[in-house]
Subunit: 260 residues, 4 copies
């Protein structure tokens, strides 16, 4: 009986217009991601999944995206996103497929002097696509402190500083851990950020930031230098956006580089 | 012909359940608001408007909210919100009505030393409701700098500081300008924020903030003191939320007070 | 050496102004929540935690909130939020404490005809506070379909329908599962929503919604009736907000009721 | 005296790394935009403005962006964005400049049968950039109703429908009004959306949508056909995202086309 319902999506479209991307967005699901220390960690991913649609087909069976997700009985993971993409590509007989997933990632950090541990949260993104070739971009968004070099230089005391979001996105030749990108981003500000700081730690981060002033321009240049030298990286985008403490707007810098 | 369509909303509901609030949300419209210097300014309000619904009526004619808005041929204004509310209350034969509108408000500020002018933007909110009595709350959300007293005290140099959102909401006995609340909020941080600062100004705000360290606790206490003494204010809520530059979370303080 | 740094927060404030709420906001952490079928499920909570501050203390040691969270070596859970609150209250010698946490909750639903399973996501909120007495509110935000009774009645065919967010918040006398509130909310629209529907299911939900038209007013009344009869519930708030398919704004209804 | 403060931004950076984009983000300002009927309309723009930075300069004088904005004494307008960009390019001696501004746009629509007028709001975006050549993209995001062809076909009565956001972005050879793009987007769904509908109008839009079922795939193909034939358009992106009433996720389709 079920089979007798008409299949509208499968009917013919004669306008000769292929569609670049058709799919589903705004799906949130529990996922696991690779964790350098613990093996895996549980988190929640928000997905945007598309395929191309041939010119002669009227519609896409959107439910098949969900079915393909469900076929991973052990759940979705950053490790099986590539398989999910390939299964979807085959199921839809598509030329192109893309999966974009963003998720929070958690790490334990120890305070710089007292050594007390606390959990930090980072937003991460994974872009997987396959047209003729497979393409993977991994991105981390990492909060740091930046302290303004100009403000320090011209003022008798103090210097304005603020939370700054440093983003690193890479295409790699050889696998890179999310934690490596996070550590790299954390090394590029005036000082790192922690969830828990005792007074000795607060003294340390205050003084360290003051000794280490950075414009957003300095942040992205420092990252560009390091990533340019990193053999495993073949493309990168680095970005810094500072929630200026003396303005109601943000300062922004960005470098994109494809390496030969 | 039009009149013959059945009026479902007007049919009877026999469950004997009155509804506290029925209405429309997420409507954005151009509005004018009172501006102490220019008379009025043009901005955009987002509205949430509700009435109560008697137990015996099945539904509300939602389109009537929009019709009542449209009846203000000269457009909506913070000055005619009370009239809009009264018109809606009558049109729906409601006991209660409430209108909530949020809008950006713009002011020109001059930099503290160079005197160069620039435009600052503030989020404002107006809550108008009438049950047995009319009730009006006006709120401003104002960005300032706060510099941490603890960080300053324990560190040999520097002190962490950040953008902090100071909110003041008041019920008043006698009219208070939005600009007065904004100025009050701006006076309560370590230093004010400006859109445009030349180097001499940046030196000034950096040093001023360093000389004037404030916890979020200090901010709300300072505001509480001033508002408690203000005869025109009969109720207030003050709040400060700082986008900590050394953490990825915020610090928060709040005082609510009804005066006799 | 650590102890010799001055403790600014602990210094005296002589203005005689107590602060209603001081604390931390915007903290995201992995948590576990009770799951009726699986025992517990892993998810991510965003926390807002505050205490009151006595009039004579200058500041709050914000880091202690994080330390108290860290003391739960097994991690935070909806089951130990009450303990966390009590530990915080003691640690800060506070009269009042409040913890607000919001988190996504996942359930497997089976499609109504084909029986294929899929994962649904719901936003949930837990408000825990203790002033003189302990107070707990649990809230679920549940997407459903509503189909407009007026549109159906006046039109020769079809009827506009849309995604509607139904919220139920309760204070209870006797424990209520999140899943029970979700099921209740899902029963109150024109039809439930699913992540995965085969064609037979899509036929079913389309026809069911058409047979079961509901205004947002009907949704909240239906819930109010059921919750009023539920002995375990001592207070409730029910709300429906529909993303109208024929407007760019939403329709809204809300009932709040304290039972004797 | 002012001139003696050191100019840190102007100091030399020897790492030989140019920065692709440096600038300011999150600035909201009153602007005027071209309005086909009224000449201009007042609205509020959120700006993101960047230039490139030569390899040998340490930093950008961020305040100069704000100064250049302020130099437009008559205020910013979609008409003078190009001049602003050119002034900024010269002031910073930059090779590249880009200005991105998003703003709500308001239009009066008359209901399809009753003819009652009401105000509709649309999100619009203007991307202006100049590298070697000037490049302008204008985008509108327009809410419409879509009714599912599959649901209609397989069901005895009714059909699920929902609010769908249709986006059109174009590069043009010859000027195109925002209103033209809005009208085009509104023509591509199952039915248009209005702020105010009387019962006769609600009957009309319900029946029209039922007679005119559209997948998101149909929407973007219809737009692609029309824009491909439009001589004034040299590049377009069309997108439809439907807030599915039977799911908690969205359906999505997109076509991008550069014409010869």
């Amino acid at each position: 009986m079920f089979d007798k319902l008409p299949d509208i999506q499968n009917s013919i479209d004669s306008r000769n217009i292929a569609i670049d991307q058709v799919g589903v967005s705004g799906i949130r699901l529990p996922i696991t991601v690779l964790d350098r220390e613990k093996g895996v960690q549980h988190t929640i991913g928000e997905f945007h999944i598309t395929v191309d649609l041939r010119h002669n087909l009227k519609g896409t069976h959107m439910s098949r995206f969900i079915e393909e997700i469900n076929n991973f009985k052990e759940g979705l993971s950053t490790r099986n996103i590539g398989n999910l993409a390939e299964n979807i590509r085959k199921r839809f007989d598509a030329k192109n497929v893309s999966i974009f997933v963003s998720f929070p990632f958690f790490r334990i950090k120890t305070a710089p002097v007292s050594g007390v541990p606390s959990v930090m949260e980072y937003n991460c993104k994974l872009f997987f696509s396959k047209k003729k070739k497979k393409d993977i971009i991994i991105q981390v968004d990492v909060p740091v402190t930046t302290l303004c070099p100009c403000s320090k230089e011209i003022s008798r005391y103090g210097a304005h500083n603020q939370r700054t979001i440093v983003s690193i996105a890479v295409r790699y030749r050889k696998f890179i851990w999310i934690e490596e990108l996070i550590r790299l981003a954390e090394s590029a500000g005036s000082c790192e950020i922690y969830s828990l700081l005792k007074r000795v730690d607060e003294k340390y981060v205050t003084e360290k930031a003051y000794q280490n002033p950075m414009f957003v321009e300095d942040v992205v240049r420092k990252l560009s230098e390091k990533l340019s030298r990193n053999e495993r990286v073949k493309w990168f985008m680095v970005r810094a956006e500072s929630l200026e403490s003396i303005h109601n707007h943000n300062a922004f810098a960005c470098i994109v580089k494809r390496k030969r």
